[in-house]
């Protein structure tokens, strides 16, 4: 496949609010089931080991017209729950046999109960991720949560989920995470070769494709991107943060790039790189997944920082390891976690002399001119700064 073929395919998957890829996958063999998950993180290994397809649900984007969903939400609540409801109420999510709601914020938390009321025939689980990182405390609780999920999924699948199957799935996702790490490393090294507007689409494909296929796709993209020489521009290198839940429209990512920024790290699809290194695939699978979550996972506003000194370390590491020159805070409007986290991170960046800028968006933001202007000014100021 050529680079264009790959990107076009990813774009088609991304734009398909009917989840055709999921429907096709299910139709390919009798009895197949698909389980959706909301941001930020769920252990997809459990779904995969049950023989089901994990499907990432990240709202309706800017393609979906939200009519019914708006009737459930006040104007001061972000967009993602209403467009997700729209997807559900218009039958677009009928291909899902269940939906997982990880503990990201009160809005998603409440949506889990709304789903129970509105979609009575579907499996719904609120997955409480631990905010205590001690193995015996938060870890034990999390293992029990995962065990409960495992039993539920086994019931849905009509068969047990063995440790061996779980370990095999961990191995599959290790490979996927490795490919994603390679993708991120490559982009940081040669952002002109792998623009974020493409990388984003490649990541989003991971929401609907089986992980094995997605891993191949990521690698194919990397090979194709490297094979084609693209012009290198004198852009500012930035980390984009705050977009871990409701997603910015693709046009916004493009606008930032057009404005003169190379995004060299981000938090768009945290789930795919949440566990930072390889999870042992030969131990007690739930224990290993738990340890990876507790001790070796990404940081985001929905996750508690145990100590003051921990705050901002993840972002600083992103900046440092990717060689970024600044940070763009891009958060959804009305997003309490991202917007409350922001001043703390900004203070830390200021202390380290790292420039930043901030704006808000909605998944259906149409007007890009102000964002382009702001990102452009920011890129210029970074370049001036580094020239000084």
């Amino acid at each position: 496949m050529t680079l264009k073929d790959i990107v076009d395919r990813c774009e088609a998957l991304f734009e398909d609010t009917r989840f055709g890829a999921v429907r096709d996958w299910k139709a390919a063999a009798p009895g197949r089931k698909a389980i959706g998950y909301m941001p930020i993180y769920v252990p997809r290994e459990l779904i995969h080991a049950a023989g089901m397809l994990p499907v990432g649900i990240f709202g309706g984007g800017d393609q979906l017209e939200v009519i019914q969903g708006d009737a459930y939400y006040q104007s001061y609540i972000c967009r993602i729950p209403r467009s997700t409801l729209e997807l559900g109420l218009t039958g677009r999510l009928d291909c899902l046999d269940g939906l997982l709601f990880p503990s990201i914020c009160d809005v998603i938390r409440n949506l889990s109960g709304m789903w129970q009321v509105l979609f009575k025939d579907k499996y719904v689980k609120y997955l409480d991720l631990p905010q205590n990182y001690d193995d015996a405390t938060g870890g034990s609780f999390y293992v029990r949560e995962m065990q409960a999920l495992r039993e539920d999924l086994a019931r849905l699948a009509g068969r047990e989920i063995s440790d061996a199957a779980l370990n095999a799935s961990i191995a599959v996702y290790n490979e996927n995470r490795k490919a994603i790490r390679e993708l991120y490393a490559y982009r940081a090294q040669k952002p002109w070769q792998a623009p974020t507007s493409e990388v984003y689409l490649v990541l989003r494909a991971g929401c609907v494709l089986p992980p094995e296929e997605h891993t191949r796709l990521v690698r194919a993209y990397l090979a194709a991107a490297d094979a084609q020489q693209r012009p290198r521009r004198d852009n500012a290198r930035v980390v984009l943060t705050g977009s871990f839940c409701e997603q910015p429209p693709l046009g916004l990512i493009k606008s930032i790039e057009i404005a003169g920024c190379y995004v060299v790290d981000d938090d768009f699809q945290l789930i795919q790189s949440w566990l930072l290194d390889e999870v042992p695939a030969d131990g007690d699978p739930l224990q290993e997944l738990s340890k990876a979550f507790l001790h070796r996972s990404a940081s985001t506003a929905s996750k508690y920082d145990e100590k003051k000194a921990d705050k901002g370390q993840f972002l600083l590491r992103q900046v440092k390891t990717r060689g970024a020159e600044g940070v763009i805070f891009a958060a959804p409007s009305f997003c309490d976690p991202a917007l409350l986290e922001r001043p703390m991170l900004q203070e830390i960046l200021a202390r380290h002399g790292i420039p930043y800028t901030a704006f808000k968006y909605a998944e259906n933001t149409g007007q890009m001119a102000p964002i382009r202007e702001q990102a452009g000014t920011f890129a210029d100021s970074i370049k001036l700064w580094s020239a000084a």
């Binding site: 015996a136 405390t137 609780f141």
Partner: protein
């Protein structure tokens, strides 16, 4: 969210040491005796906080839902509740500026205003609602019950003041019940993290018998609180279960649960209500007895504090009594039988945290409201949707639809904020309420005609 309100809002607050008996000022505002007692408790607590350093007391801060007041008392902490500070500042019309100061300091206009009122208060030199400077807490007990914003709130405070923070992660009742796993998780955190940290910060050794003793007091007070709130099942209701209940829940939801003073408060309150019932009286309002009960409502969502009296007046002027509210359950749902249990102290603390209203899932919240509609013979449901509070507000329109569907009673929706005066539009709310009362009346007439 939260409690301990002063209905007058504008009544000047006089400072006094907590031991001195307050003298009733000749205020035009009508209050039950228990309300004076409540005010005395609240002000006494602010004085204690203000003098904590001189008294050699360590200071804790914690949130209302899932607060572990009995446990904190075991370590002799002076106890601050930032939500209550924000609320009190809201009632005293001080919160607007605090919020704007916090926004000028870099906080988004989109986020919870309780947080911003608290941070704004710090920017203004930590001067508390009563005019006394509040000390920086020695420990932030982050009871992560029913709201995610709590976590960010204390991380922000910690960032500024470097306070020791201890997290108590209380799992959400996603499936509509408390599991053994959830209980074990909370108890384990209490044993392994919370208690050792409180011991270290306070220098006081944990004594479980002391905890049991406080819990015994809590249970007594809880019994009388429940009796009081349930007295609204009568017709006419002797209390207002929302505006009035704000006073009733004050002590038990904040720094007083477990103290003999709180027990006394609830006994006094109960005796007063008993007397009201004997006299056939309705609720007392800031302007005196409520003459006639015309509408009985259930309310979902917190009140607005910056225009609390004006808001309340829109109800009593029309003869509308709130017979039950979910807000009066944010610091503990006691009316379905839960009591602090001195025989199982830690388990019961866990159970308490897990059971707070905003820790219930949507089907539970809907069931609870429908039950109230039925048991309190309400004419309808009113939702006061709070801009600040995703925990309460996200999804309330579904609650409205479901409750209407299940009970056949009319529901109405209004919007305001807790402590941000910019989001209280009196004219809009009044209009909405008036047409709602009309609707109830019409429904009643139509039903009577059949």
């Amino acid at each position: 969210m939260s409690m301990s309100a002063n209905p007058s809002g504008t009544t000047p607050v006089r400072m006094m040491p907590s031991s001195a008996a307050p003298k009733k000022p000749a205020a035009p505002v009508q209050k039950e005796d228990a309300m004076w007692l409540q005010k005395e408790l609240v002000n006494g607590n602010y004085t204690e906080l203000a003098n904590a350093r001189q008294l050699g007391k360590k200071v804790s801060a914690t949130f209302v839902p899932g607060n572990l007041n009995e446990l904190l008392m075991c370590f002799d902490f002076a106890r601050s509740l930032p939500e209550t500070n924000a609320l009190q500042n809201g009632m005293r019309k001080k919160s607007g500026k605090m919020i704007m100061d916090a926004e000028r300091d870099g906080h988004s206009e989109d986020v919870c205003t309780y947080v911003k009122a608290d941070l704004g208060m710090m920017l203004q030199g930590q001067v508390g609602p009563t005019g006394e400077a509040l000390p920086t807490p020695d420990v932030l007990l982050l009871s992560y019950t029913g709201c995610f914003t709590f976590m960010k709130w204390f991380e922000l405070v910690r960032q500024k003041y470097d306070c020791e923070t201890v997290m108590l992660h209380v799992p959400y009742q996603g499936e509509g019940h408390v599991t053994q796993s959830m209980r074990d998780y909370v108890v384990k955190q209490l044993k392994e993290n919370v208690i050792p940290t409180l011991e270290r910060v306070s220098g006081v050794r944990f004594d479980i018998d002391r905890l049991r003793q406080y819990m015994r007091e809590s249970a007594k007070a809880e019994e009388d609180l429940v009796w009081t709130l349930q007295s609204a099942k009568r017709k006419p209701s002797p209390i207002d279960g929302y505006f009035g209940a704000v006073y009733y829940i004050g002590p038990i939801f904040t720094a007083f649960r477990g103290t003999p003073e709180a027990t006394k408060f609830y006994a006094t309150l109960r005796a007063e209500i008993e007397q009201r019932i004997r006299d056939g009286k309705g609720p007392i309002t800031p302007e005196g007895e409520m003459p006639e009960e015309k509408y009985r409502l259930v309310v979902e969502g917190p009140p607005n504090w910056t225009s609390f009296r004006e808001f309340w007046k829109m109800f009593y002027d029309e003869g509308a009594v709130v017979v039950a509210s979910t807000y009066s359950k944010v610091g503990g749902v006691y009316d379905f039988g839960f009591r602090h249990d001195p025989d199982h102290p830690l388990e019961s603390l866990a159970e308490y945290c897990l059971g707070c209203y905003t820790n219930l899932n949507f089907p539970q919240r809907i069931d609870m409201i429908c039950k109230y509609m039925d048991e309190y013979q309400a004419d309808g449901l009113l939702i006061n949707s709070i801009k600040s509070c995703n925990s309460f507000s996200a999804g309330q329109l579904l609650i409205l639809r479901e409750v209407e569907k299940r009970t056949g009673k009319p529901a109405a929706f209004i919007e305001s904020d807790l402590v941000d005066p910019r989001y209280f539009s009196a004219a809009n709310i009044k209009n909405r309420l008036e047409s709602y009362f009309q609707m109830i009346k019409q429904k009643r007439t139509a039903a009577g005609a059949h």
